[in-house]
Amino acid sequence: MTPTIVKETVSETAPDAASSWKHSLSVPLLLGISVLLAMLGSLCIGVYPMSFLHAARIAAHLAWPGPLPANPPWTVKEITVIQIIRLPRVLIATLVGLGLGVSGTALQGIIRNPLVGPDVVGVSSGAAFGGVLAMLWDFPPVGIIGLACCGGMAAIACTFGLAKISRAGSNSMILILAGVFVGALFMSLVTLIVSVSDDSHLPGIAYWLLGTFVGSDARKVAIVGIPTLCGSAILMTFRWRLNLLSLGDLDARTLGVNVAALRWAVIALVSVIIASQVAVSGVVGWIGLVIPHCARMLVGPDHRRLLPAAALLGALFVLGLDDFTRAILRAEVPVGVLSALIGTPLVCFLLWKSQGKGWGRE
């Protein structure tokens, strides 16, 4: 006789509605449509008023350039505003949000703690340090990204190293603590460089660190777009393996996963994404921490659905922040400042709502 288990609480019924909703493709699809609509809506926002339909026509023309109609329904001024000012800004905001959403989710998966984000484990601070150093040495934009990436990787290597010498292994709470120390160290180094830099470098470095979307152009779109899209695309192919890494080293290893290689591949990709993000928008906190939680509430913890959902939700969130800045505040507030103002109460709410489920569990 096949033994049966004691607890008989569930009948053989179909999965409940909430579960079906989480497992269906509806959420990513809705998020994708929302991001597209938000991008188009963002094109309408600004000093120069423009209707949604008008902005959509211009965007379609710019996306699929064909022969210009004899009497185009838009003016030269309108297409210039969209092409030169708003479209690069909207694309950068979308890419920054997408990169932060993907990076935060991947880091939370490999470190096995939902309290982790790129800024928490020191990646953002390390990238900022690398970028500032490159600017001090008059590196070209590619060099700034490269050194920012190296800084990000060095910071997370220090974080893991610090956790290791404390003999905590992959204890995620120790990793977070180590990340806080390392992040503080690298931010101190950034401040040191700012303090000793001469007048020819100081304005550029200060403006870079401020990290607003002002002055967005095609070059900046390429700076953030290429690393973010390439890094995210590779991470998407690994997304099921993030489930395996989130089980812990020993379990993942016995399931046949090369834990160290995969973890460092993910860290390298996250560093590339965060370096490019820091290069265009400065250190942005909270988004990489909060967005994965929100995405998890929508689609569940399986990284196959979670990673795309977090990417889209991150894009939507940063677009919303930028729109809020331009439409309501009518001032150029760095996205990092707004994300902290909104992210802090949001994390408090999530902490309260989670009732400690999984937060800090080993």
Partner: protein
């Protein structure tokens, strides 16, 4: 084919110089057999398992493992609320390419494995929601779907109630006898080892061990040396079968015949 699934020779390990967890341990685990490891707390049972799993490099000695291994930890907790199906599907890691996602066939294999353990209806439930016994069965299902040949279990019954202990032990026997899996498990219960193990290793001290067939090794003398308490063999007949078990002699058993519990008005 070699009849030995795991062999270790002159194995020794220390975390601190001069402080050996164990020294010169040697044993062979036969393919398709059930192998129990017993020892008091701190004897190094989990360390030995980690060495067998390749997660820890021994200070000295050789380990040879032939076959894919799956591990069932003592307390299986996951950070994220994966569904039972997601958990079992993770057993397909070796079959799914590095840049690929599990296919419909992988999901079918996972569901079939759940079916085998009679828990198919748990597929959409959260792993966190399950009881200890149910979780163990899910991890067994994952091991089966991974096509593992060797199952390593760290105190598989330690957190379970009596009935679930029996369920888990029964499945361990089935997986060994019906599926041909080699099973290595640590336990604090000598009667579990006597009931299901073919061979047993007793970790008697840092350089002292006893290894052999369960009936030969699990003697009252060895168990007294192992735990420092008296453990007696008990034989009885039930359902037309002769059963043997091991029972610890509790200190109060030698006291007077006073009732050991009472309800006062």
């Amino acid at each position: 084919m070699n009849n030995t699934a795991i062999q270790f020779d002159d194995l020794r390990h220390s975390y601190k110089p001069g402080h050996w967890v164990f020294q010169n341990y040697s044993a062979a685990v036969r393919r398709g057999s059930t192998f129990a490891i017993l020892g008091p707390n701190g004897a190094g049972k989990t360390t030995l398992l980690k060495i067998l799993l390749g997660a820890l490099k021994p200070t000295a000695g050789t380990v040879s493992v032939e076959g894919r291994m799956a591990f069932v930890p003592q307390l299986f907790q996951v950070t994220f609320d994966y569904s039972v199906l997601d958990m079992v599907l993770m057993g397909r890691a070796r079959q799914v390419g590095l840049f690929s996602q599990p296919s419909a066939q992988d999901e079918e294999a996972a569901m079939a494995s759940l079916e085998r353990f009679g828990i198919r209806h748990f597929a959409e439930r959260q792993f966190h929601e399950l009881s200890g016994g149910e979780r163990q069965l899910v991890i067994f299902a994952r091991a089966l779907v991974s096509e593992a040949e060797i199952l390593i279990l760290d105190e598989p019954t330690s957190a379970l109630d009596l009935k679930n202990q029996i369920v888990v032990l029964d499945w361990m026997t089935r997986l060994s006898h019906q599926d041909g899996l080699t099973i290595v498990f640590t336990t604090h219960h000598p009667h579990h080892a006597l009931a299901v193990a073919d061979d047993t290793l007793l970790m008697l001290g840092d350089s002292k061990f006893a290894c052999g067939s369960a009936t030969e090794v699990l003697t009252e003398e060895n168990l007294l040396a192992l735990y420092g308490v008296e453990i007696k063999h008990l034989a009885f007949e039930h359902g037309g079968h002769q059963h043997k078990t091991l029972v610890p002699v509790l200190p109060y058993a030698s006291r007077s015949n006073e009732p050991r519990s009472s309800l006062r008005p």
